[in-house]
């Protein structure tokens, strides 16, 4: 029998050939991951730099973190960010929970697709468009009522957080076993009783995941906040955006690092929560 030629399938397989590898793909992938994390690492590293200059490493120090923590404007913005994200994420999660129950636990009704589209609308419209639309509406209300408090920001943040809270809750509801609910009904539990004792505890991980995601999204938002906020209502991201117009100080790097770490922790928890099996 003749030796298999170099290009025959058998010969290739003998050389440890796998259809799952493509030449250069692994290399590009590793390069991509390095490129994704390198700038973030540089940012974090230089936030611990002693000196003002980005170009020179002048020794490890928490100088810029202390500076940021002592800055009244930063403290004020950080507190506002947290309050805003907490309130907006909570309201958004309540609305999203109701919306998810309405779209998974009722019979199909006409206009259901339209409801989905509406719930997810903030995901599809460019953020800048939503931002200026809200600016117009709120400017009109401001003129009519003279009120320029936090309610505008809370309303805006709640609106764009809803889809992010909705998605994990709905995913949870869809994969949940409905037989427990059916059993509860068979045992003469009222609808409210069934919801409180069966549905709610079962969907709880979804709700918490939705809440966390909404919280992260609200905390991270720049564009909509920038347009909706009244004077003196900076959140951390809009404060940083304003700072970037001047020269970048390592203080911005320090704040960025804190936001980054908070985000990574929340997203990691979110993954834990959604991937856990029960």
């Amino acid at each position: 029998m003749a030796e298999p030629s170099a290009t025959s399938p058998r010969a290739r397989r003998q050389r440890g050939y796998s259809v799952r590898t493509l030449p250069g793909f692994g290399l590009i992938a590793i390069l991509t991951f390095v490129t994704i994390y390198a700038p973030i690492m540089i940012l974090v590293t230089f936030s611990f730099n002693e000196g003002t200059s980005m170009a020179q490493w002048q020794g490890f120090s928490l100088h810029w973190y202390r500076e940021a923590a002592a800055n009244e404007i930063v403290k004020d913005a950080a507190l506002r960010s947290l309050i805003l994200a907490t309130i907006a994420a909570t309201i958004a999660t309540v609305v999203a929970t109701m919306a998810a129950l309405a779209t998974t636990r009722t019979r199909k009704f006409t206009g259901q697709t339209m409801i989905y589209t509406l719930i997810n609308q903030p995901l599809m419209v460019p953020e800048i468009v939503t931002a200026v639309a809200l600016l117009i509406v709120f400017a009109w209300i401001k003129v009519q009522t003279g009120y320029s408090g936090m309610i505008y920001l809370i309303a805006a943040h709640t609106a764009f957080c809803i889809p992010f809270a909705y998605l994990p809750i709905r995913a949870r509801l869809e994969t949940m076993d409905t037989s427990f609910e059916a059993a509860a009904k068979d045992l003469y539990a009222s609808r409210w009783m069934t919801f409180r004792r069966i549905t709610l505890p079962l969907m709880w991980p979804g709700i918490v995941a939705g809440l966390m995601l909404a919280f992260v999204i609200s905390l991270d938002d720049v564009v909509i906040t920038e347009f909706v906020k009244s004077a003196g209502q900076d959140t951390l991201p809009t404060y940083m955006l304003g700072q970037l117009r001047r020269t970048v100080t390592p203080e911005v790097n320090a704040i960025s690092t804190v936001i980054l770490i908070a985000g990574v922790i929340l997203v990691s928890l979110f993954f834990r929560l959604t991937n856990q099996q029960d």
Binding site: G26, T32, L118, V137, V143, V264, F271
Partner: protein
């Protein structure tokens, strides 16, 4: 539910109304019907002799938005396909880890990631520093405030949007088909082009749309990395509501951007439904 509908549709309707009004003296609008908001997106009136001419500035911004978004989409494809392939072909245990690594930047603050890019490419940034130290260049290269900076930044921040849908497609790929191609003497490249690519096409299209749409409306990245000269669509809208004090024009521009988005989405829906019909 009523709240959601009001929040979603209300402001957009108001925007339609506003685009047909006259700009007010200090921002906002006068309640007076006018088509100027729409016409001035494309043409402008010469201040001296009232003749109409193309609004070159706006047109160049439209073109920049479109071309940079296209380049961004292509670049994310070039890096996204291999990365998605790499993640999907890892052993199941490790796959979770790589996928997590790809998702983290997706959820981290857009502004923070843009600042990270800025630290990398500005005149005193890391790239210039390394090149100077190695004596490859004598003076720092001006990378900030260029189209390059915007494209680089957008590719960086939108890459996960390309990788995730392609990953989903590769994950579903039946590798027996690829083996069959190889058994039929297809080389790696032929198998990739004729078998793999058509099978993961839905993921590629989804990823391209997901990258293209936010690129077109990008605001933060071009503002930070592009500076005042290299505006994109989103910054032009901002300008009309801010310093330009021409709200009707801003509203008209916003509606145009939304129309572009909807066209892209409809095109996507049509392609995917045809794809499904073809089996």
């Amino acid at each position: 539910m009523v709240i959601i509908i009001l929040a979603a549709a209300g402001p957009l309707l108001v925007m339609v109304v506003y685009s047909f009004l006259t700009p007010g003296d200090y921002g906002n609008v006068k309640w007076q019907f006018s088509l100027d908001g729409w016409t001035s997106t494309l043409v402008q009136r010469d201040i001296f002799d009232d003749t109409l001419m193309w609004a070159d500035a706006n047109l160049s911004i439209f073109w920049r938005s479109f071309s940079l978004s296209m380049i961004t989409t292509v670049l994310t494809l070039i890096f996204g396909v291999p990365t998605a392939w790499f993640i999907a072909t890892q052993p199941p245990g490790k796959r979770e880890f790589w996928l997590f690594l790809m998702t983290v930047p997706f959820w981290t603050n857009l502004l923070v990631r843009t600042i990270a890019i800025q630290e990398l490419i500005r005149s005193e940034g890391v790239i210039n520093l390394i090149l100077l130290k190695l004596h490859i260049i004598d003076a720092p290269i001006q990378m900030m405030f260029t189209n390059f900076a915007i494209t680089f930044g957008m590719t960086y921040v939108f890459l996960p949007l390309m990788v995730l849908p392609i990953y989903a497609a590769v994950d579903k790929l039946d590798f027996r088909l690829v083996e069959a191609a190889h058994d039929l003497y297809a080389g790696r490249w032929t198998a990739f082009r004729r078998v793999i690519l058509p099978l993961i096409k839905p993921g590629i299209i989804a990823g391209s749309i997901l990258v293209f749409i936010p690129s077109l409306g990008a605001y933060v990245t071009p503002r930070v990395l592009g500076g005042g000269k290299n505006l994109m669509f989103g910054n032009l809208i901002d300008l009309q509501f801010g310093a330009g004090r021409n709200w009707p024009l801003g509203a008209a521009l916003s509606l145009m951007l939304m129309a572009a988005t909807i066209i892209a989405l409809m095109w996507y829906v049509r392609i995917t439904s045809k794809e499904q019909a073809d089996g």
